[in-house]
Symmetry: C2
Subunit: 344 residues, 2 copies
Amino acid sequence: MREMELSERKMKILQAVVRNYLETGEPVGSRTISKYTDLNLSSATIRNEMADLEEMGYIVQPHTSAGRIPSDAGYRLYVDTMMQDKERDVAELRDNLLEKEERLDQLLKQTAKLLATVTNYASMVSAPSIHQNKLKLIQLSRVNSDQLLAVIVVEGNVIKNTLLDVEEELDDETILKLNILLNTHLNGLSIEEINLKLITTLKAQAGIHSDIISNVIDAVAKAIHEEDDLEIYTSGTNNIFKYPELTDGTKASELIGTFEEKQALNELVVRSLAEDNGTGIQVYIGDESPVESMKDCSIVTATYDLGEGMKGTIGIIGPKRMDYDKVVDNLKDVMHQLDSIYKK
Amino acid sequence: MREMELSERKMKILQAVVRNYLETGEPVGSRTISKYTDLNLSSATIRNEMADLEEMGYIVQPHTSAGRIPSDAGYRLYVDTMMQDKERDVAELRDNLLEKEERLDQLLKQTAKLLATVTNYASMVSAPSIHQNKLKLIQLSRVNSDQLLAVIVVEGNVIKNTLLDVEEELDDETILKLNILLNTHLNGLSIEEINLKLITTLKAQAGIHSDIISNVIDAVAKAIHEEDDLEIYTSGTNNIFKYPELTDGTKASELIGTFEEKQALNELVVRSLAEDNGTGIQVYIGDESPVESMKDCSIVTATYDLGEGMKGTIGIIGPKRMDYDKVVDNLKDVMHQLDSIYKK
DNA sequence: ATTAGCACTCGATTTTGATGAGTGCTAACA
DNA sequence: TGTTAGCACTCATCAAAATCGAGTGCTAAT
């Protein structure tokens, strides 16, 4: 028994167990499989095979004398080797999404909503990170006698505003000069390229207004990195109530908390971006989850790429018995749409 | 019995019922009241009085031979006439909040979080509406050969960005002229004051670039009204799991959905702002709720006023047996802090 | 290698009974 | 007349007991 290989038949049985459990959510018994599959075997035979599969760790019994349900390893095997492409019912999806919002945040919000509606699971969409982006425009304007408005535009047309306090009022001409100074030196540079030497040069040229330069640089750095910039949009979190296994005990509360905080979801985004294996799709089953409160869930993520280094993550969070085929399919589709939408 | 007046004694008993129920969440019986109150009466007497109170509709029995719990009317009477000021344990609160964020949205987010933590209920904070605000600055900059960036600053330092498409590239001088034109004519005006006549004048002066003027005006109007500007921050929605009466059946799901959508919460904001009675505090009990999914909740709202017409709503959503005294107190406190924080 | 048959297990559901908090009512009481 | 003691009654809650049935493992026959 030790060096047992996974026979064709066992595969088929495991697949049947998973499929059936995904549909019903109930432990599935030998008799059911016996009819469900095309291999004509009696329930007794199936029982023997299932006993083997259990020993190998692919399925478990919730209790003696109940059917079997897939273990995490079972799901994993299924996802890795047994998924099949579904008929895509995604035409409709494409239509809906195509009303291309000009505002990126709106588009992403809408994407999250759409995914949640289509899949009946919870969804999340992270705004793209813009780390390695290049500065496109810096614009200072006087707004009060003691405040300057700094508008910072980076590649990809992401816009940031910051208010700067200044001691003495600056006249129009000075502001104009500062603007020219900043733009001629900084435009086209990424944040990493703005080094100390450059800053020193700028300060020297700014003369008595060198402190403003410091402020602006700080603002730029802050605007680009800005922690809270990791906007994450969620939708359909209440879909988890459709799956009892996610709502008993305090699980529901914890999940909802996680979705509301959004802080923890960032972990998901980071992991997902880091582990990108080429397909852009990642599946986390149960304990594999990067987020503590989702140990009873499965998570499927996709990485989209708007070009110019703007990458983000979209994800679906549902029960372990989620419809992996469909979810992966939907996710791929949305991912490709996002990829292409800004490559006009 | 018909024209029975609410005797002093009945009031006291009702009050005791409410108080006790708020604490324990259990139906309260006559014997309990008999000891809980200072009026020395036997349980039998209390029973008679309670029967009266029930007939009058202030309390109800969940089932025969259980204690009584307050009806909506009972809560209402309590809130209107029987609340008392609590010892304020809010010093701590003040400290926490005072780390005055420079960014308004951050501050509001933090406020919501704080309220949720302190009260153990769900909270919401709406960003101030800025309808009647005056323009402070308009700034056009070229960002691409075919795109202009319009930055719009209104009183209260709320900043909006919009990208405008332009047909032919504009040179620096033209942009400068347009900026001057716009600012000299529009600064200090509220959106209502920008009428057709003014627009016509502007267009005439802009000559061949009159279409840009149209675009800018549109952008200004959009930026100020913008529907989705009704940002609403929520926090502690998972606190509802602490109150079983809010989580059985599909209630939890509906509530969570409402909080996530945020759309419906807007109704709350509008109502709350409209019905402001001077104190700034509003209490909605059960069916009085403006939001369908909160028919089993009580809602307490407060209206804050940052000055310059920037008003917003903060609210607490919890079970009907919420600690009204404390909630009102906390809310008042936070409201005042917000009121003063921007009146430096 | 497959299958029919059977005893067995155990969660889920229903049944039953005991408990006790709380009520309404009546009669006695100050 | 208002208050109170006493008592029968109701009914949710809990625990123990009984029942049910889906599903298993094992053995023996094919």
